[in-house]
Amino acid sequence: MFYRESGDFKTKYVDDNQTFPIKLDRLGYYAIIAIAFLVVPFVINDYWANAVMVPFLILSIAAIGLNILIGYCGQVSLGTGGFMAVGAYACYKLMTSFPEMSIFFCVLISGGITALVGVLFGLPSLRIKGFYLAVATLAAQFFLVWLFNKVPWFYNYSASGQINAPERAVFDFLVTGPNATAASKYLFCLVFVFILAWIARNLTRGRVGRSWMAIRDMDIAAEIIGVNPLKTKLSAFAVSSFFIGIAGALFFSVYLGAVEVGEAFGITQSFLVLFMVIIGGLGSIFGSFAGAAFLVLMPVFLKNVMVGGLGWPTDIAAHLEFVIVGGLIVFFLIVEPHGLAQLWRLAKEKLRLWPFPH
């Protein structure tokens, strides 16, 4: 079987709208889903869950969210960390105020609350663009972190100023707290990733996605074909923040368990997710995954090589890690500004013609 569309004729517009128009892609996708749900949970251990899979899954959600805003709608944001913090604190308040509520709904509602906050901070985008908008979202970032530090109500007046996730279970499997198992944490996040990626794909392929991209590519022309800039930009902020809020809620409750806002959701977090989106590829859901995988795996890999393999001291390795990741980002921006997703597309385009290149 060759990798191509020919011989696989589309006779209906429905078929032409498929997410994976090429059969092999489709099969590969099903295989990955099957492995992710049916195989990984049985083999995953604490190290892989905590160091790789759980942060990868959660940050993928954040990256998809940011990609919707920047990659699809063209609105720059440096406030990702702050919006993740909104999700985290919303989740904490919900978990502690309504102990009976399922953790699943806590996370979901946290996303909803973050969406509202996102819309609020998205309002300036109606007036300002590009660099100035980035600065405005940066202000949101600092304001939100400051707010969660300053107002004790948000951390239930705890002496440490930290928030700690109480234990919660889904179908009797603990997913939060120190006793949660690797497999249940992983699966809980995977379910969110699966649903949210599917929603992102649906939103970006129809009316809503085209309005976003129209605003991104040329806002004047978009308005003249009937796109309402107000509604469109705010909907991008809402959806994007919904995703990022869920990522923040999971990051706090499932991954970290205890959070000090400045540390977990500071400006570094904003930049990390931004780099994921840029390295992965703007305007690509696959790219969001690729970027998240790259930036989660790369430090783990480097650490294993430098500390485990070469026996260097950890602190030197940690510094070098920064240098190497930074260097790679610069390298990427120069060599392939459209990111990993574009490299993947180019490889596939070659493959589609193979073995007859002309």
């Binding site: 517009y13 129809g206 991209m213 978009a222 009937g226």
Partner: protein, 269 residues
Amino acid sequence: MAAQNATTEPSSKAPIMEMKNITLRFGGVTAIENISFDIREGEVRAIIGPNGAGKSSMLNVINGFYHPQEGEIWFRGAQRQSSRPHEIAKQGVARTFQNIALFKGMSTLDNIMSGRLNKMNSNMLAQAVWWGPARNEEIRHREAVEKVIDFLEIQHIRKTPVGRLPYGLQKRVELGRALAAEPKMLLLDEPMAGMNVEEKEDMSRFILDVNNEFGTTIVLIEHDMSVVMDISDRVVVLDYGKKIGDGNPDEVRSDQAVIDAYLGVSHDD
């Protein structure tokens, strides 16, 4: 190309739009000065004039992108209050731009599909789960868009990102995006600028076909006088923001003021 005179008699139709004493200023510059004219239902109305005469500004006034300081605009029997361009688009006014304004990151198909955005209304939730209404809406509009693609003979570039297309085809895709909205009134700002003779003939044919088949009213800015004389029913002539001529092509061609101000002037394109 004279066919439209036989099939429709635009001169007998009522105006679809009336511009009354429009004045538009940018700071000290008066781009349009006290201009009145009407556009009749189903006609091809050309706007001509030298560079900087105020033609594009006039289109921008028509579709609500600029708001004139003085004057009234009557559209389909009602005086238009100052509205945003996206609201005017919903009332059935579509346009193309002098400098191509396509969505560079999208394919031909998506660009033309986006022309139907103001006809689509499935809600966010249905979109998110790609449930019945969202899916059906997409397919229904895809069918309409495929008709536009066939009409403009651009089937072969359906999936090509528009940035990769040559200039002439980009202009055609932009026309497609405007047509996809099924407008009552279509504003074309120099649709043939920079085209070779063959491409111009294709474009003229498309414009006349749209006018004849769908009865779309067309407002056309064009520098190529032979094209203007060929395809338009009536011509407005602007110069330095003032109207200096108005009538059918023959009248305008023989008008001394027009000859002095415009036809004698050479143009770089």
